[in-house]
Amino acid sequence: MTVVYFTALALLTLTAYVLASRRSVALSATGVRMHSLPAYHGLLAISLVIAPMLLIWAVGTPLVSQLAASNALTNFPAEIRNDALQAGSALREIKNLAAGQHSGDVSDALRAATDTYSAWRTSGNFLLLIIGLTAALAGIATSLRMVSGQFRARNHFERIVRIVLMACAGVAVLTTIGIVASVLTETIRFFFDPNIKGRPGILDFLFGTEWNPQQAMRADQGDIKSAYGFVPLLTGTLLITAIAMCVAGPLGLLSAIYLAEYASPRMRRYAKPVLEILAGVPTVVLGFFAALTVAPYIRGWGEALGLDVASESALAAGLVMGMMIIPFISSLSDDVMNAVPQSLRDGAYALGATKSEAIKQVVLPAALPGIVSAFMLAMSRAIGETMIVVMAAGLAANLTLNPLDAVTTITVQIKTILVGDQEFDSAKTLAAFALGFVLFFITLILNIIALRIVRKYREQYD
């Protein structure tokens, strides 16, 4: 049915274009001065076909299945109809049978219901097709009638383009709002829903120093106050991110300076993609590299120095994560430094600046806003990274700033909580939403800080 509908749509679209543009051509052949080119009359006609047909389909299809379902269910007794669970499973059986995938016995009621369902769907869809075709034909007729010398098809089409683009942007914005809203509601439930057993208070969550949701599972015996303390996760996240930035910041920025200012074009052509490959290595691979190669080394060195090193350490995860985000910093910073006009460098050279003076005093300040956003992007990546930490830093929520200890991060805990079978209204599951919300909040703050910095220097430097 869908196939027929969309085939009709495609054919009508084509027809609309051809008819409208032909008519416009014919009109101008009679000597009428046309405001718009034939193509615009055609495009406008297309819009008048596509828009109503898509709208009718988008509204009509769910309506039809709704109607079909409720009518089919009248074949069952009232107690089934009124129980949401039973009605749902009956509906699933009906749909399976209608699709010919039902196995096992078929009761009379079910057979009758399925027949009703199919009948309603067929006639509903047929009706949709008729309505759609009528609307499309009306659209074509209207657009043909509108073709004339003074008709501003070009301007009208421009408006339609704007609406389509706005709708696309709207989808992205609405999705974001939707995600934030859903995370926010679940978070609020986590903190305030009295039906959830074992939930902590906001302050216990924000300032508690022990994270142990497994214990809270056995809600009646666990000490709830100490189960959902968020602080160790935050320090773990910040610790690993800080280590990663200590690695990636200098290495990334300095290699960007090398690539942009010192490397020959040939060198740059080869070195840059190679560096970027680093960003393409799957994080699982980096994770077991960290756990199996880097961590033992660190442990070995630590022991040689007489230090007590956990076999899974923040240092191992941070180092490898730093390697991972180097390309984000180097590649983006390289691009922005390249975008600094050569005339500025020439100005510095002509005053007798050496190369490194010109870079330090002219190129870097001019590129600073871009470099800051490169750092922020890299930092968001580091904060959001899960796999490397799971494998190399462990799961133990230790409250420590010692890079040689095992730590865990917000993302890792979200993953740990949500892996496996879930009941969606336990405190443990909802805790993941709370963590997600906090994570979102942290990155938001980071972005705002970055924007501030960028704006400050923009004012100063443009």
Binding site: S343, R345, D346, A348, L351, G352, A366, Q460, Y461
Partner: protein
């Protein structure tokens, strides 16, 4: 020397010019170019240029587009070094010192030879920092007070002080085009160079700003040796004392500005200044 086709007549002209100076009791040349050839990769952009540029005064380079004026100008402060494909042969001396000599520090050379570019290119820093940039990197001033003084006197010499004295901390890029170009001139004279190279300094400016820059050049010429590239014949006639005409990578003729515009020796010069080509 890469080039075998040494232009003998040019050398003779230079020699003649030199003796003319001596007999006239003029100062010896500030910049002396002998058989300068410039290649961009395989392209022979400048061929056997010989010229003598006197100290104090304005020398104008004119000629049709692509004839190598900028290329030659950039040889004098070795800005061509920043172009990988560019190769310079021959000899250029400033005050009898070979500037392509290995022992010469190009950074020091550029402190002595300032340059103003076609498009104003102030640094994205404050007006003050723009002018203070050169003195700072060369350590020319001992303390803040001296630096302030240098900045003020440079801006005064560039006829910009009155317009910006109340907003020295504003960004240099926020000035108008003409103000930016004068800022660049102030930036160049702040390191107190001997020579100032100007590559079409007025081509991005309106007539009023152009007039200001020209007045400025006229004032600066008693203290500096100024070499200016220009497409405007009127401008060359207004601001320069000597003029060199370039054509297709060769220096065709160099003489006093008056002679070039009233009584040129070469037919090509004649054609160019009367607007027959270029």
């Amino acid at each position: 020397m890469e080039n075998s086709t040494v232009d003998l007549s040019a050398i003779e002209r230079v020699e003649a010019a030199r003796t003319a100076h001596l007999t006239a009791g003029a100062k010896p040349a500030k910049v002396l170019a002998h058989d300068v050839n410039v290649y961009y990769g395989d392209k022979h952009a400048l061929q056997a240029v010989n010229v003598e540029i006197p100290d104090r005064g304005v020398m104008a380079f004119i000629g049709p587009s692509g004839c190598g004026k900028s290329t030659f100008l950039r040889c004098i402060n070795r800005m061509n070094d920043t172009i990988a494909s560019c190769r310079v042969t021959g000899k250029i001396t400033i005050d009898d010192q070979d500037i392509y000599d290995r022992s010469l520090d190009v950074v020091q050379l550029r402190a002595r030879v300032g340059m103003v570019f076609q498009k104003p290119n102030p640094f994205p820093k404050s007006i003050y920092d723009n002018v203070a940039y050169g003195p700072r990197i060369h350590g020319l001033t001992a303390n803040k007070a001296e630096l302030d003084e240098v900045v003020q006197s440079s801006l005064e010499k560039a006829a910009l002080w009155n317009e910006v004295k109340d907003r020295l901390q504003d960004s240099g890029t926020g000035l108008s085009g003409g103000q930016q170009q004068r800022l660049c001139i102030a930036r160049a004279i702040a390191v107190n160079p001997d020579i100032i190279l100007m590559d079409e300094p007025c081509s991005a400016l309106d007539p009023i700003a152009t007039a200001k820059v020209e007045t400025l050049i006229d004032e600066l010429r008693s203290n500096f040796c100024i070499i200016i590239v220009t497409h405007s014949m009127q401008q060359a006639a207004r601001v320069s004392q000597r003029t060199a005409f370039f054509h297709l990578g060769t220096l065709v003729e160099e003489d006093s500005t008056k002679t070039i515009f009233s009584n040129p020796k070469d037919q090509r010069t004649q054609d160019y200044i009367t607007g027959r080509f270029g």
